[in-house]
Symmetry: C2
């Protein structure tokens, strides 16, 4: 597939200009652009700038709100509840995690529930914010149903991702960022683009029957069977229901609709210093990583990886070589840039 390399800085400036054009403040536009390009830099392209055209369309349809009035509705020394007013996800979620970190610095843990956010990008970003402050970070999100509970032939839960990050010393932070489905829709889209079937066990078609044709895949299947289903269900309870804003119930019981793009979320920080010595913690993480990587390898395996490591390798390469954008993404970005009158980065012009 032909692709064009763009320097991260140029791509981020371009994305920010687009977001300013649709109404975000310069500061919010920069935050949104930064979180998207952060994902591209790490190879998480499904959560990168390919989203820009759909975000612009969402603003135009009245989904994502560039002028959101974000309000802290409840607050204690350890927790807070934020009404996001359909703000761009990174704008409200970075705020929420900063608040959680500040609370954790004071009382050891900060727990922030966000109601009515929109697409937050890669959840690992927020977990890593805490790790960069010497804390453990946790981030969970829930959306309307797209995954079948075990035994069902229809969507009933969302393949809610969870991200957890902790800081190391010499090594990069451990960052786990995983959906609760076997595979996310991004991988199914990739199979469509490549013209190859998907493995059995990834998805059901619209009638709830198993399929290996990625073009027929409509309903995801949970990772680890009832374990992925169980986690996804509990994540709705920890996010949407704590926010008093159910996203599964109205669809399941046909009692209401959900404004397109709505998400609820929780981000939390736990302060290592409240429990012990942070430097000792970081050194233990280093040795844990080294111990895991030194294990005997299964046949055909070149290296045992730890969470966050594959992304960091892509980061090194893309910081040096630029971010490769496939033809389709470039075409879509050109269209939206032309329509909004925003200059393209030189590499894409």
């Amino acid at each position: 597939m032909p692709e064009t390399r763009v320097a991260a800085q140029e791509l981020e400036a371009f994305a920010a200009a687009i977001f300013e054009k649709v109404g975000l403040s310069p500061e919010d536009a920069a935050t949104e652009a930064h979180v998207l390009v952060w994902a591209n830099l790490r190879g998480i392209d499904s959560h990168g700038v390919l989203r820009i055209p759909q975000y612009v369309a969402s603003v135009e349809r009245g989904g994502m709100n560039p002028h959101a009035h974000i309000r802290i509705e409840r607050e204690t020394p350890a927790v807070l509840l934020i009404e996001a007013d359909h703000a761009f996800g990174p704008v409200v979620t970075t705020l929420a995690m900063r608040c959680a970190i500040a609370k954790a610095a004071q009382v050891g843990v900060g727990w922030a529930v966000i109601r009515n956010t929109t697409h937050q990008g890669a959840m690992g970003y927020y977990a890593l914010m805490a790790a960069e402050e010497g804390m453990a970070g946790l981030a969970i999100v829930c959306n309307p149903p797209n995954m079948a509970p075990t035994g069902a032939k229809a969507a009933g839960v969302h393949n809610s991702p969870i991200a957890i990050a902790v800081p190391a010393k010499q090594h990069g932070a451990l960052v786990l960022d995983m959906a609760t489905s076997v595979a996310a829709f991004g991988k199914i889209q990739l199979a469509i683009d490549k013209g190859i079937p998907i493995p059995a066990g990834w998805a059901l078609d619209q009638d709830g029957n198993p399929t290996t044709d990625p073009r027929q895949a409509r309903i995801l299947l949970p990772a680890g069977g009832y374990k992925g289903y169980g986690l996804a269900l509990m994540f709705e309870c920890l996010t949407s229901l704590f926010a008093g804003n159910p996203l599964l119930e109205p669809i399941l019981l046909h009692t209401g609709t959900v404004r397109p793009g709505t998400q609820n979320s929780v981000v939390a920080a736990v302060n290592i210093a409240a429990f012990g010595d942070v430097e000792a913690y970081r050194e233990h993480i280093d040795r844990l990583i080294e111990g895991i990587k030194a294990l005997p390898k299964a046949e055909g395996v070149e290296e045992i990886l730890v969470p966050g490591e594959p992304e960091r390798r892509v980061l090194a390469e893309r910081q040096a070589q630029g971010i490769p954008l496939p033809e389709g993404t470039v075409r879509n970005l050109r269209e939206v840039a032309s329509r909004l009158g925003v200059p393209l980065p030189p590499a894409l012009a």
Copy 2:
């Protein structure tokens, strides 16, 4: 397999008498017995009274400590760190969760890390303690390695379980209690007892090769591939490393040993009332359960279950009919009762 039914109350009194005999205070012995029989009542027999002989042996070998000096080492309005001094798990973990609940009642969240506990029984018990107080409960535990990281042919992480519970109104609480492995050793033991093979993908033998012979199974495999591995690794970071007491590192790097039976853990409570109306929350859980159960069923599926539901059905039956103990368990309990001079429940005498 022949089995004997014993009323829960009789079994609990017997277990408590055993634990008093090995040195626990009457109150601690009652707590330990209650948590074990709680598991039996729900069909989680692998975490029930079959453990009694091994607990007694552990006390005699200097593992579990019936006279533990449990100390709260660090405390803020939201978090605490407990040194368990190798106390019986339920003794220290119920204390930890009570503290977490009290903190959550004050500031919205309570987060308790436990160092040097021993076997805690079924983690769902502690998560449910919070749900019974109108809170979400979370419980995680880590032990020395028994599961292979993705790509490894040796154990490098523990199949650390996580339990999450939230309260409903008319329905029973949602209680998820899952290991991060495809199957736990209890299921492998069951296959040995039944003389049947285990499915491919459950376990490796002692040389790290895949096996379907349950008698050769030594190393568990993670649920959902790298997802189960990733969760397990992060759970060590959230428990043992917050407690400054690594359980994987010394084994992986051959730098030390771990006192047999040592576990580290975290239990947390998040107070629904700090975010909104508890009754409304409970009603949303009811409707979520009803919505999930009303989904169209896959072929051959009689009913879609929610987390905690299978256990509650067993509970109803065993409360009425007593707890069935297989011949082997009865024999082991008789032996330990005879050796310690503790009278057996009439049904087992």
